[in-house]
């Protein structure tokens, strides 16, 4: 080529690769309780710093400290722990079910359970999430039946989506959980549209958009921010920064910026970073943003700083691109352990009760799984009718689909 090497392409690289010792020494963990809690009607310009900070509530001793503490009752916090434990146990069972060939695919939320469980606890009935594939915690927290989730995963005869969708691509209007799409990013602007509709209708419901760190690079991230900014939609825009997008580290999507949250500032949208492994912090920030939306101040962007402790999906093997022990070294710890410690510090929980709860949850899930499997698994037992394939493409089947169904002999 040209030869006289003047420019060089800069290609970001993570600090560690397989074989290296994980190194998070550059990752600054701000003190819990240190971040200020601005009034909910604050202008974005006045809280730039929160886009670079990390709001934390639970300290190393498990105490809830600082101005963001206190958003949850004891009962709510206990439910939060139970929800997270449920998600983790459910994930473990379904991962195994996939390995056993009972379904084709699975995706865990391992290590990031607090984000969706705490967030959902801050919403009101009627609010609508536009989730990605890693927000099963929203459904679990909202009380969607685990058995129905399993039926979907198994594409069995009781699958509410009739075997049409890939496992974990749930949909529940009733529980405020928008149908998951396989195409990254598309749902972020849809959340804004839903919130705009709520405003047009003079309603009081809010929407929540969800996107991964990697997917912020998608163009619909921009569409969402533009529309949310212009129309001041009552929406909470969540970025789940779990450090990885399949094999690429967050630096590929983030580039030269210090944080993902800071992307909101150029839209005049308040942007807050929160410790995504701190249940209390996520809940407090979500409540703040919900209140802000409810009072008509429009959108908030939240970056949840967490870590994807498992593989991307059952099709992935992270040992090919990151050190095996990186998850264990993640400086924000494990969300379940942290909330458990907090509850014990509060005197409302104990190791014994925890062990007992764990056993209950596990056996519940095993029982549920047995029930679900009575409805069939992907390759065995009862399953939806192939004729379902032709239904609901349109509200009423047009002639060409009727012909095709006849051709298929079903």
């Amino acid at each position: 080529m040209i030869g006289n090497k003047v420019f060089q392409l800069h290609v970001p690289e993570p600090q560690c690769r397989p074989g290296d010792t994980p190194d998070f020494s550059g990752f600054v963990v701000p003190e819990a309780g240190a971040a200020a809690r601005p009034p909910v009607d604050v202008d974005a310009e006045n809280i730039h710093n929160l886009a670079y900070d990390i709001i934390r509530v639970t300290d190393d001793e498990g105490r809830a400290v600082g101005p963001w503490a206190g958003s949850l009752t004891d009962e709510e916090a206990l439910k939060g722990l139970r929800d997270m434990m449920t998600v983790r146990s459910f994930d473990a069972r379904m991962l195994m079910a996939q390995r056993q060939g009972k379904t084709s695919f699975y995706m865990q939320a391992l290590g990031e359970e607090a984000v969706s469980c705490a967030f959902q606890a801050a919403l009101s009935p009627g609010d609508m999430n536009f989730p990605t594939y890693r927000q099963q915690g929203l459904l679990v927290t909202a009380g969607y039946p685990l058995e129905t989730m399993m039926n979907q995963i198994y594409s069995n005869s009781a699958d509410p989506l009739l075997g049409r969708q890939l496992p974990i691509m749930y949909s529940s209007k009733e529980k405020g959980f928008f149908s998951i799409s396989g195409n990254l990013g598309t749902q972020f602007i849809q959340a804004v549209g839903w919130a705009m509709a709520s405003a047009i209708a003079g309603d009081s419901k809010i929407a929540a958009g969800w996107i991964g760190d990697g997917a912020t690079a998608e163009s619909d991230f921009h569409s969402a921010l533009v529309f949310a900014s212009t129309f001041r939609a009552p929406v909470i825009l969540n970025i789940v920064n779990n450090q990885w997008a399949i094999s690429t580290f967050q630096g590929i999507a983030r580039g030269k910026a210090a944080t993902f949250a800071s992307r909101g500032l150029g839209f005049g949208i308040p942007a807050l970073r929160v410790d995504g492994n701190d249940f209390l912090a996520v809940h407090a920030v979500a409540k703040w943003a919900a209140e802000r939306a409810h009072l008509g101040h429009g959108a908030t962007l939240i970056e949840h700083v967490t870590y994807r402790a498992g593989p991307h999906s059952t099709s992935d093997d992270p040992s090919g691109y990151r050190p095996k022990t990186e998850a264990a070294d993640w400086p924000l710890g494990d969300p379940l352990e942290r909330l458990k410690k907090h509850l014990i510090a509060q005197g409302i929980w104990s190791e014994e009760r925890h062990a007992q709860a764990q056993a209950e949850i596990d056996s519940d899930i095993i029982a549920t799984q047995k029930r679900a499997e009575k409805n069939g698994t992907l390759h065995d037992g009862p399953h939806p009718s192939p004729k379902d394939m032709f239904d609901d493409v349109f509200a009423n089947p047009p002639a060409h689909l009727i012909r095709q169904r006849q051709e298929a002999g079903i």
């Binding site: 949909s171 149908s179 602007i189 047009i200 209708a201 969402a224 493409v393 060409h400």
Partner: protein, 338 residues
């Protein structure tokens, strides 16, 4: 009854839908205060307020994506893409989202959108103001795609589209906005007020999506066309003297195959006309269907008269445009072969 242009008919349809149902909202680039670059939404913001008719940022994916969210909420958005040539940034939202939503959620959520877009050439708009992308929608399961050719249908089909619970791509042949253009670009423009289909009933009525209209009965050859090409085909029939049966498909998905079959079975010959590029255009589907369903009636090879497989040219607009001369030649040709 009133004489209307297609622009007025389209505006009237939206007005009626907004009046009857406050869930209907209209938005897009320049559609609010200004009333649209082609004026198809003129007066709607004034009448219904900026919350029901508004300008959006220039982001087609945002327009359709927001409309999908609104549809999921329970509204009934009717959005404008300024030119069909600019729908590509919205294509992912249209194909992967709007078209799939009902099916993938088992009716939990639906996308009752209407996506309006001016289509076709003949206005010296060059390659990015002249395209006819209907085939790119027709191939996508879950979308309805319709193309009116006159004010009467424009209004009735737009009301039907807005009231439809499925996403409808509503293509507006911009060369027809102000008159029934038959391809004779050198001639003076005929206004819609001189055309019987410029007669538009007042108030609410619908033209069902999926029914074709026979614009000229004939026995020699069936011409399948839609949008501007309907008028071109009629002119070609007149000028060649070929007794063509000209079918205005109006809707390409769903398609009125019965009307097509009945006609080809009668005439035994078929010419297919569209302005879009030929390869894998909707004419290919029509030819495939006719070849399959009317195999034993066909007496001569079908001919497709279409835009060439090149970008839409600026200077050579009339060389590219499938005008009456090209269609007429095809009519004579299929009459000669057998």
């Amino acid at each position: 009854m009133a004489r209307m242009t297609m622009i007025e008919a389209i505006r009237d349809a939206q007005d009626i839908c907004m009046e009857r149902d406050d869930k209907v909202v209209v938005f897009g680039q320049d559609v609010g205060y200004f009333g649209g670059v082609f004026r198809c939404t003129k007066g709607l913001q004034e009448k219904y307020g900026p919350q029901r008719c508004f300008d959006t940022p220039i982001n087609e994916s945002g327009i359709v994506g927001a409309a999908i969210g609104m549809g999921a909420y329970g509204l009934r958005p009717c959005v404008e893409i300024q030119f069909a040539d600019y729908m590509y940034p919205a294509y992912d939202q249209i194909v992967s989202e709007a078209a799939r939503l009902r099916h993938r959620s088992n009716k939990d959520f639906i996308a009752p959108l209407t996506i309006r877009m001016p289509t076709g050439g003949g206005i010296f708009g060059g390659q990015t103001h002249s395209q006819s992308p209907e085939a790119l929608f027709a191939h996508v399961s879950g979308l309805k795609t319709v193309i009116p050719s006159n004010p009467y249908d424009a209004k009735g089909m737009l009301i039907a589209s807005i009231e439809d619970d499925d996403p409808v791509i509503y293509l507006e042949p911009k060369r027809l906005y102000n008159g029934p253009f038959d391809g004779h670009h050198e001639a003076a423009i005929t206004p819609w007020s001189k055309h019987e289909l410029g007669e538009v009933p007042e108030g609410h009525y619908t033209v069902p999506l999926g029914s074709a209209a026979i614009r000229r009965a004939g026995s020699d050859v069936t011409v399948l066309a839609y949008g501007t090409m309907v008028h071109v085909a009629l002119a070609a029939a007149e000028e060649t003297g070929v007794d063509a049966e000209v079918i205005d498909l109006r809707s390409i998905v769903p398609l009125d195959l019965e009307t097509i079959k009945a006609s080809v079975e009668k005439t035994g010959r078929c010419v297919i006309v569209h302005e879009a590029t030929r390869t894998c255009g909707f004419g290919a589907e029509l030819a495939a269907l006719v070849a399959h369903h009317c195999f034993y009636s066909l007496e001569a090879p079908m001919v497709r008269v279409t835009g060439y497989d090149t970008p839409y040219p600026h200077a050579h607009e009339w060389d590219y445009f499938p005008g009456p001369a090209r269609v007429g030649k095809a009519l004579l040709h299929v009459m000669e072969t057998e």
